[in-house]
Amino acid sequence: MLIACPYCGPRDVAEFTYQGDANRPRPDPASTDLDAWNDYVYQRANPAGPHREYWQHSGGCRSHLLVTRNTLTHEIAGVAFVRSAPVPATKPAPAAPRKRPASRKAKP
């Protein structure tokens, strides 16, 4: 897989570090809403198809990039610096409604 770093040019995926799903809005730092934090930290949609995700060019300019990658074909539809591509305020509609584990608050 090649990622076209906007600063360094196209580079092998070995130079990059996956830094996670880019479709999860981080709760306000002061928020104590554990459900919101739980979603942010643990819940992922894992779509089969186009996926927005963060990659750091850790073996190059060290910028974090917002990459739109098709998880089925590894085709990359877009690459931008995260700093110039603002974090989504609201999360895009997930492919299927996610079920929250009912027992999360119960003690195991």
Partner: protein, 999 residues
């Protein structure tokens, strides 16, 4: 032993004789021979014993598709098992041996398995060993009993145990056009792309470029095809923009048009050149790929088709034409297509007697008929071979009329010593399948043709199903031009002189003989018979994936190169459905066996990068035993002659507590955090507050992950209003840097903060002990270091013997201690000055063991306790969790489950039996011993002998934590047989008030 070498002909160098050994016997061959051709020339017919039934086996193929003749090559005390003899180029001194036989190849006791063949059919293991309980024996128990015997009896070559002295390397390459396969299509594709000025790589699995041109006997442009290929290769070799890679198998097709290939660099040479690796793995990133990988011939399945002497017709032709070896004196051919007729003519021309050509088809093309006439011998159309005779060599075949798909009439015996079989051709679509849709079945060609590409490749030659050379040349040129972005070339191609043959084979894959007692093999290498495929169907394993796993067809090292399509065809016939309905085989990488060494290449052993601190040489000169810590090397101990490791670290730690010691802390991660918002940023990443830290002071900080667990700890020094120097643990330095960069780039891009990794810019030495200040007073100039000028956690700048230094008073050992930082280039200079200044106080350098001992005595945590599963509360660091501000992980750290009092929590443990403790040992409340293990309440994380307490002690993470203080418990370490009583105590073993560090 009959000589099978022809008087003339072939591409071998008859003037060069090469001596080698096979199964302890000396042989000779010629330069250009493979082990297979040289042994065949010497009259060897028996090459191996089969996987399951130990049947005698001979050569089937002449190339990478060889399923039977697997050998082990012995070299430099190592063994390379399961190499097809057809892929071993002989060299002087080559030593190879056959496999899976005992005591010898010709007399193999394991052949008794063949008698029990009825019981060893497909699914044998599943049925026998997963079965019902028989008396006291469960099915699985029987398996364990029998496994040892079965594993010895069934199998391939044995891997060696000796370390491999050969080297391997990896290389990256980039090109506009990668051509895979150097047959005529590949050669002209490479030439066309190269003439357009593109950077071209041409990879060929064999030693010689040219592919089938080397044995086809055809003529191109009025010259023999092999000479034409040689000239074209020479033309390519002379071009700057072309790289030729012979002996290079391209085996994987990955994302972004990246292909993996392995080059056999020196294994075929008697003596590798200096620094030459055995194998080299290429990662080739290509703009466009031209797949010209050719086609592989298929056998026909019939009873006794595995007898040594039965081989593929194309292989027989190749042995005769390329190597000058006759695979038999009296040869019959058996075919469902025209291809075998060219082989028959070639074998006859080379001097073999052709007994008969047996063809299942009632009629053949004119071209085939003409070749049959040239070959001589009987032409038995509408006939099939229904059996073979012989032991370790073929002595004859049985032939019957073949009508409407069935053998009829009486069998006729034909005495022959070789049967050359052609069941049609399968394009080598393995790479295409990795980078394409599903392969497409062609009824006309009776083969799977290349799929639609999902990556940027073009096909040419036999790979596409092209059956004649003129078509291959045209396709190759067109593909090369298209790959290079050039214009189509309509000029005339060189004339090809070749017989005109019908490319379509008859759809006959198996000659099923009712009540036949002899096995008919589909997969030679895994001993899978046509009856096994039928059994799979009867038992419901009808799809290709189920059939494959149930029978293991196609799962051997050759990955079913010769057997996949016949297997599918037999299943389709049994089910009465067309072949593609049974399924299509998708191919995974690698196409051929790849040495693990060439994948690891330099990423092991000595070639791993080593990070050395600036004082490394000093440590080594002063007796340090260096220890790897990640990529770093750090002193473990500075042992005196005769000292054990324990004696050394106890002496070092004791000296620190009594006087002074010095330790190299250069490996700590160091990050410059600078900018107007640096303090605000640190407040967010640390659990405690840094914006209130005065300039010229340091503070211990704790970081959590987003999920609320502890991530890392360290001190951060405020050097200026907007200038901080953060230190991290050695192991986490890179991860912390990445963590901070993520938050600045992704979460808080508005913060004006710049991060720089300065780990390698600074050298650090920690001077610790009651006399530490006196040492510094002697060494440091330009600043006072007394308690007023340099209070606890204070920072001053000064000089040590002319070198600028930064001194921070902080302590990991619990003693009065200072960390002295200087530019890395001054590291040894400053270190030596500090050691010299400490001499009057008996200063000793100390290593990681003593450092660990001092911190265990103090109950300080490191990576052993910050193991990714512990919280600040677990480690009694919850005092550092600010309640006044949010920080990374602040909300998640308050999850109910993380406040559970039953979580593992940090305590101290003292050995009560005076014996050392083991890291990782479990702790139980009930007595624990080899006879009965108590229930674990946690484990020891770090152990040492404490000179301060004069006891063996440990830190531990135990369920219940501090509530257990004063409790008697037991260590339980069944792996190392260590059991015994301990007492659970506070993790602050020594000086819990911290009076000493204020000196």
């Amino acid at each position: 032993m009959s000589g099978r070498r022809t008087e003339t002909g072939g591409r071998i160098d008859r003037l060069r004789t090469i001596r080698f050994t096979f199964d302890g016997k000396a042989y000779t061959g010629h330069a250009g021979d493979t082990l297979a051709s040289a042994l065949l020339a010497a009259g060897v017919t028996l090459f191996g014993r089969s996987f399951k039934y130990h049947r005698p086996r001979g050569l089937v193929a002449a190339g990478v598709d060889e399923p039977n003749a697997l050998v082990t090559v012995l070299r430099d005390g190592t063994r390379e098992p399961n190499v097809p003899a057809t892929q071993v180029e002989i060299f002087d001194g080559l030593v190879a041996e056959s496999q899976n036989r005992f005591p010898s190849l010709s007399f193999d006791l394991g052949a008794v398995n063949g008698l029990g063949g009825r019981f060893f059919g497909a699914g044998f293991y599943y049925k026998t060993f997963m079965g019902p309980v028989i008396g006291p024996l469960k099915g699985t128990r029987v398996w364990m009993l029998c496994e040892w015997f079965i594993r010895r009896a069934a199998g391939l070559g044995r891997a060696g145990r000796a370390a491999d002295p050969a080297t391997y390397e990896r290389v990256n390459a980039f090109c506009d056009v990668l051509v895979v396969g150097s047959g005529l299509a590949g050669l002209v594709a490479a030439r066309a792309a190269a003439l357009e000025g593109k950077r071209v790589i041409l990879a060929e699995a064999d030693a010689t470029m040219g592919g089938s041109a080397n044995w086809s006997g055809e003529r191109i442009g009025g010259r023999p095809a092999d000479e034409w290929a040689e000239d074209t290769t020479a033309e390519l070799a002379a071009m700057d923009n072309v790289r030729l890679l012979p002996r290079t198998t391209v085996w994987g097709y990955y994302d972004g048009n990246t292909l993996a290939a392995t080059e056999r660099v020196s294994g075929h040479k008697a003596q590798a050149a200096k620094a030459e690796p055995r194998h080299r793995t290429w990662t080739i990133r290509a703009g466009t790929v031209v797949l010209a990988t050719g086609a592989l011939e298929r056998p026909i399945v019939f009873p006794g088709n595995d007898r040594p002497g039965v081989m593929l017709a194309g292989a027989a032709e190749r042995y005769a034409n390329e190597f000058g070896v006759l695979p038999g004196r009296r040869i019959a051919l058996f075919a469902n297509n025209d291809g075998a007729y060219r082989a028959a003519a070639a074998l006859a021309a080379a001097g073999a007697g052709i007994a008969a050509i047996v063809d299942v088809r009632p009629a053949i093309s004119e071209g085939a008929r003409m070749l049959a006439g040239m070959a001589g011998g009987e032409l038995l159309l509408g006939h099939a071979v229904t059996g073979t005779q012989g032991g370790t060599a073929l002595s004859g075949i049985s032939v019957r009329r073949f009508d409407a798909g069935r053998p009829t009439g009486e069998a006729r015996a034909l005495p022959v010593d070789c049967l050359a079989v052609s069941g049609g051709w399968s394009p080598v679509i393995h790479l295409a399948s990795q980078a394409g849709q599903k392969p497409v079945w062609s009824d006309e060609r009776q083969a799977f043709l290349p799929p639609e590409p999902t990556q940027n490749w073009l096909g040419a030659g036999a790979f596409t199903g092209a059956a004649i050379t003129a078509e291959a040349l045209a396709q190759g040129r067109a593909a090369g031009l298209k790959a290079a972005g050039g214009k189509a070339d309509r000029t005339k191609q060189p004339e090809v002189e070749a017989p005109t043959l019908d490319p379509a084979p008859a759809p006959v894959f198996e000659i099923a003989v009712p009540d036949g007692r002899e096995k008919a093999f589909v997969d030679f290498q895994h001993d899978v018979t046509a009856d096994d495929v039928r059994l799979a169907r009867r038992e419901g394993f009808v799809s290709v994936e189920h059939m494959k796993r149930y029978t293991t067809l196609g799962m051997a090292t050759d990955q079913g190169k010769t057997s996949n399509v016949p297997g599918l065809a037999i299943m389709a016939a049994e089910r009465g459905v067309p072949i593609p309905e049974v399924g299509t085989t998708r191919f995974r990488a690698p196409y051929a066996s790849v040495s693990l060494g060439s994948i690891a290449a330099e990423r092991h052993g000595d070639l791993r990068p080593a990070r050395l601190t600036p004082m490394h040489d000093w440590h080594v000169e002063h007796g340090a035993v260096m220890q790897a810590a990640g990529l770093w090397f750090r002193p473990q101990i500075y042992g005196l002659p005769g000292e054990t490791v324990e004696q050394a670290y106890v002496r070092e730690a004791r000296t620190v507590r009594a006087g002074a010691g010095i330790v190299d802390v250069s490996t700590l991660g160091k990050i410059a955090v600078q900018g107007p918002d640096a303090a605000a940023f640190l407040d967010r990443v640390y659990t405690n507050t840094f914006s209130t830290l005065p300039v010229g002071k340091a503070r211990y900080g704790l970081m959590l992950r987003e999920d609320g667990f502890v991530f890392d700890d360290g001190t951060t020094w405020r050097l200026g209003e907007n200038d901080f120097l953060m230190t991290t643990t050695t192991a986490n330095a890179a991860r912390v840097m990445q963590h901070l960069e993520y938050f600045l780039d992704v979460v808080w891009p508005d913060l004006r903060v710049h991060l720089t990794s300065v780990t390698d810019e600074w050298a650090g030495a920690a001077v610790a002990g009651p006399d530490a200040r006196k040492v510094l007073e002697r060494a440091v100039t330009g600043t006072a270091v007394d308690d007023a000028a340099l209070p606890f956690m204070g920072i001053v700048r000064g000089e040590v013997d002319g070198a600028p230094v930064m001194v921070c008073r902080l302590s990991f050992s619990g003693e009065l201690a200072y960390e002295v930082y200087c530019g890395a280039g001054h590291g040894t200079h400053v270190w030596e000055a500090l050691v010299e200044a400490g001499e009057p106080f008996g200063i000793v350098p100390y290593g990681l063991e003593a450092l660990g001992t001092l911190r265990i005595e103090k109950g300080h945590v490191t990576g052993s306790e910050i193991d990714g599963r512990t919280t600040a509360r677990d480690l009694h660091l919850d005092g550092l969790l600010s309640k006044k501000k949010p920080f990374i992980g602040s909300a998640m750290a308050n999850r109910e489950g993380l406040a559970d009092p039953d979580r593992l929590s940090l305590v101290g443990v003292v050995s009560l039996d005076g014996r050392p403790l083991n890291g990782g040992a479990h702790v139980t409340l009930a007595q624990s011993g080899p006879g009965g293990l108590g229930e674990s309440i946690g484990h020891l994380t770090a152990v040492c002998y404490s000179p301060a307490l004069q006891k063996y002690v440990a830190l531990a993470l135990l369920r219940g934590g501090s509530a257990l203080h004063g409790t008697r418990a037991f260590v339980s370490d069944p792996m190392r047989g260590r059991f015994g009583p301990v007492e659970i105590v506070s993790h602050h073993f020594f000086d819990p008030e911290g009076s000493r560090l204020h000196g």
